[in-house]
Amino acid sequence: MYKRIALIENPPINTCVGCRTCESACSFWHERAFNPEKSRIRVTRTEYGISYPITCRQCFKAPCVDACPTRAIHRNAETGVVLVSEGLCIGCGLCVERCPFGAIVLHPDKKVAIKCDLCGGTPACVKFCPERVLRHIDVNVAAQGRRRSWVESKVGGGA
């Protein structure tokens, strides 16, 4: 199966705290500069202190791929990663409009679409996330963990 970046929280202690360390690390890994506007992961913070990091889901039927008029976006069949070919991208922003999560954006200088490419296998955001709530994981494997903690909390895990 395919891995993506997933948020695995264990409230109230282990949650995304909105520190944006992931944004900062991501931008440097890809751009050799610190700039959240060039980050491929974005943390949304609500007025009520809720934070949630959003990055590409690496969709199987990717709306961004379908939207792209120049076929600049494709899905690597082997790894499952959805990638943008910068040379083909014309910066029209259709993919940005279509992505249900706001996970793909236009680069502020280069004006081409940028999105999470899983850093080639060892994502910077996962490495840096101090709360360790970001995981690079197969969602079905993540679901195993969810099932286990649900069973333990509802059915009881012992004493």
Binding site: P12, G18, T21, F28, P36, I50, F128
Partner: protein, 643 residues
């Protein structure tokens, strides 16, 4: 000429509010080498540009918003903002520092710093976006609380990513301890919010898409290492879990928890206002500042009772003490409500709690009565009174108008011996460390350059005895006294070191969570991190010298305003009354002067006057400063060796 160091943007803004003129200035290499950033930049500008004796509310006062070379990078805790100006509370050097996400945004928007001067005719705010800045009308924001003003600006511009730092009603009303707030995080102390109000400046709003670059790519890996080092520190988990509130119970156990206006150091109901209670009953989520591995902040909610519906961000140990034990208030929900009011009105919760406790003790002793208090009975422990007084102070109504002046001015007004109950140093209300139970604070409070303060020297080693950290930092030879809270031995050395480390931390800018407590990293890591970011190749000695230079210049600023050894003193109560619990039998009086002597000697300041000497100033490259001080008759006599 473009700056050759990385980390910085290389440009800053000068804003003359009188004329409305905004100019872009190149950051000078000299300033970066000698003063590093944030706190250092502000200190230098204040020294150069604010003449002696200027009223802090005069347009001639400066208000400086500054970042540092690490701000906006992935260095742990690189999100802090430093604000500097002459304090209307103390009349001397003032600064305050806030976390959150504003400071990085200012750099992404293209500026290292903003220097405000003058006074606008009508309320304005500064809008900074991608290398452009303009003053905009703020009449629709005037009179609004800080959260509300922020929301309005984000809505007006239609961009949720805008970061705002500004004042509430208290700053507008020139409450002398008004702060500057960014999303519930406060640059609270020394009343710089009132300076902002006096300039008719409501807030600064920033948005940017520019890069912050560093000299060496290796910086990224090294920053990761330091993140891990902080996460691995033994004191980090409890700080992350309970925030600063993790301190309530331990500090209460060692009677270091100021209670009833410093009558005692322990509060019998501390359990009811602890970090554990906060987590159990009020916690919604933990909240982190930019690039922080600790995340001491939290969103909390009151779900029932009279304060139901209170929703606030980041209640701190200091606030819990000031609005709680200090006023004998054990009602946690009311403290959270008070915290929200302080954030929204924009006032320093430490000074607020201090001035309320002071008024309560004056009331208890018949110095003031209901005739002076708009009919309020200022009884200890009444949460309604605490909240009512916060409102009155922020709005300067009735008794609030007197208390908004701070304890020193209020005591003068009350007379009848009220000054004995004014718990302040150099005019600033004391923070929540009873120094009788942790004697390093006898010194650290009185040598702080902004008045009574825990965050300059910030000596933590002897709090409850952090042996490992003490050995890592200073070696084994100072054990056991160095970690003994009831010993003054070696503490002047620890305080001096903490002050210089703090000046560098506030200039880099990083949080003292990491450098001071938890004591996770120190000079070597800071020197390497700053060097990799800037390309300066700073050694430890050079970095320490920067810290010492900044601290000495702050002291000179204060000496120029008339400060000397006689002002370096704890309030009389701390000097003559015994502490409680482990501090029973310990008054600070006999110890203070001994520690001061040793401290001045270490600093090579004159022991009689407390003034920096020419030799020290020249050693730090501050020859011009020495000349100025001499002209003013504020340089210790030359030649004669004072021993």
């Amino acid at each position: 000429m473009a700056l050759r160091y990385s980390g910085y943007v290389g440009k800053y803004l000068r804003v003359d509010l009188t004329s409305g003129k905004i100019s872009e200035v190149h950051l000078e290499e000299q300033l970066t080498r000698l003063y590093l950033g944030g706190n250092g930049f502000g200190t230098k500008i204040l020294w150069d540009e604010v003449p002696v004796g200027v009223d802090p509310f005069d347009p001639e006062n400066r208000l400086i918003f500054s970042t540092g070379p690490l701000t906006g990078t992935v260095w742990p805790t690189a999100g802090r903002l430093e604000v500097i100006g002459k304090s209307p509370l103390t009349g001397i050097y003032g600064d305050a520092n806030a976390g959150g996400h504003f400071a990085p945004e200012l750099k992404f928007a293209g500026y290292d710093m903003i220097v405000f001067q003058g006074k606008s005719k009508k309320p304005v705010y500064l809008w900074v976006e991608d290398g452009r800045a303009e003053l905009r009308d703020a009449s629709h924001l005037w009179g609004k609380g800080t959260w509300e003003a922020e929301r309005t600006i984000r809505k007006d511009h239609g961009d949720g990513g805008i970061k705002v730092a500004g004042i509430g009603q208290a700053g507008e009303n020139r409450v002398r301890f008004a702060g500057i707030i960014t999303s519930g995080r406060a640059a609270a102390r020394t009343g710089l919010g009132a300076v902002m109000g006096s300039k008719n400046l409501k807030c600064v709003a920033a948005r940017g898409t520019f890069d912050v670059g560093v000299a060496k790519d290796e910086f990224y890996d090294y920053a990761y290492e330091i993140h891990q080092q902080i996460l691995a520190n033994e004191y980090t988990p409890s700080t992350s879990r309970y925030g600063t509130l993790g301190l309530v119970n331990p500090m209460n156990e060692i009677s270091r928890f100021p209670t009833k206006n410093f009558q005692r150091g322990d509060f019998p109901y501390a359990n009811e206002i602890s970090g554990e209670i906060l987590e159990k009953k009020f916690l919604v989520r933990r909240v982190g500042c930019y690039a922080c591995p600790i995340s001491c902040g939290r969103t909390v909610a009151v779900r029932d009772g009279p304060y139901k519906g209170t929703y606030t961000e980041g209640v701190e140990y200091e606030t819990i003490n000031a609005l709680g034990a200090r006023t004998w208030n054990r009602d946690m929900a009311s403290i959270l409500k008070g915290d929200l009011l302080c954030d929204e009105y924009g006032i320093d919760s430490i000074s607020t709690g201090g001035v309320i406790a002071f008024a309560m003790e004056c009331f208890e002793n018949g110095i003031i009565s209901e005739g002076d208090t708009d009919g309020l009975k200022l009884e200890w422990g009444n949460p309604e009174i605490v909240l009512e007084l916060i409102e009155k102070i922020a709005k300067r109504e009735g008794i609030g108008n007197v208390l908004a002046e701070g304890v020193v001015r209020a005591a003068k007004k009350f007379g009848k011996g009220a000054e004995y109950y004014a718990m302040h140093i150099k005019g600033m209300e004391m923070s929540a460390q009873d120094p009788r139970s942790q004697q390093s604070y006898i010194l650290a409070h009185i040598t702080g350059t902004r008045g009574a303060d825990h965050l300059k020297g910030f000596p933590c080693i002897d709090e409850t005895g952090y042996v490992d950290a003490a050995v890592r930092r200073y070696g084994e030879q100072y054990l056991p006294e160095i970690v003994d809270g009831l010993s003054t031995k070696y503490k002047p050395m620890v305080v001096k070191d903490g002050e210089e480390l703090g000046a560098v931390a506030d200039s880099a800018i990083v949080c003292k969570f990491g450098t001071h407590f938890p004591p996770a990293y120190y000079w070597p890591e800071l020197a390497r991190g700053i060097s990799l970011a800037t390309g300066m190749q700073l050694g430890i000695a050079e970095l320490k010298e920067i810290g010492e230079r900044i601290y000495n210049l702050q002291r000179c600023f204060n000496v120029r305003e008339g400060i000397g050894r006689r002002d370096d003193t704890q309030p009389r109560r701390i000097l003559v009354e015994s502490g409680t619990g482990r501090a029973k039998g310990h008054a600070a009086g006999p110890l203070q002067e001994l520690m001061l002597d040793e401290y001045y000697e270490l600093r090579r300041w004159d022991k009689k006057t407390g003034w920096p000497t020419r030799a020290k100033l020249e050693e730090l490259g501050l020859k011009n400063v020495a000349e100025d001080m001499e002209k003013m008759g504020r340089l210790p006599a030359r030649g004669k060796r004072r021993r």
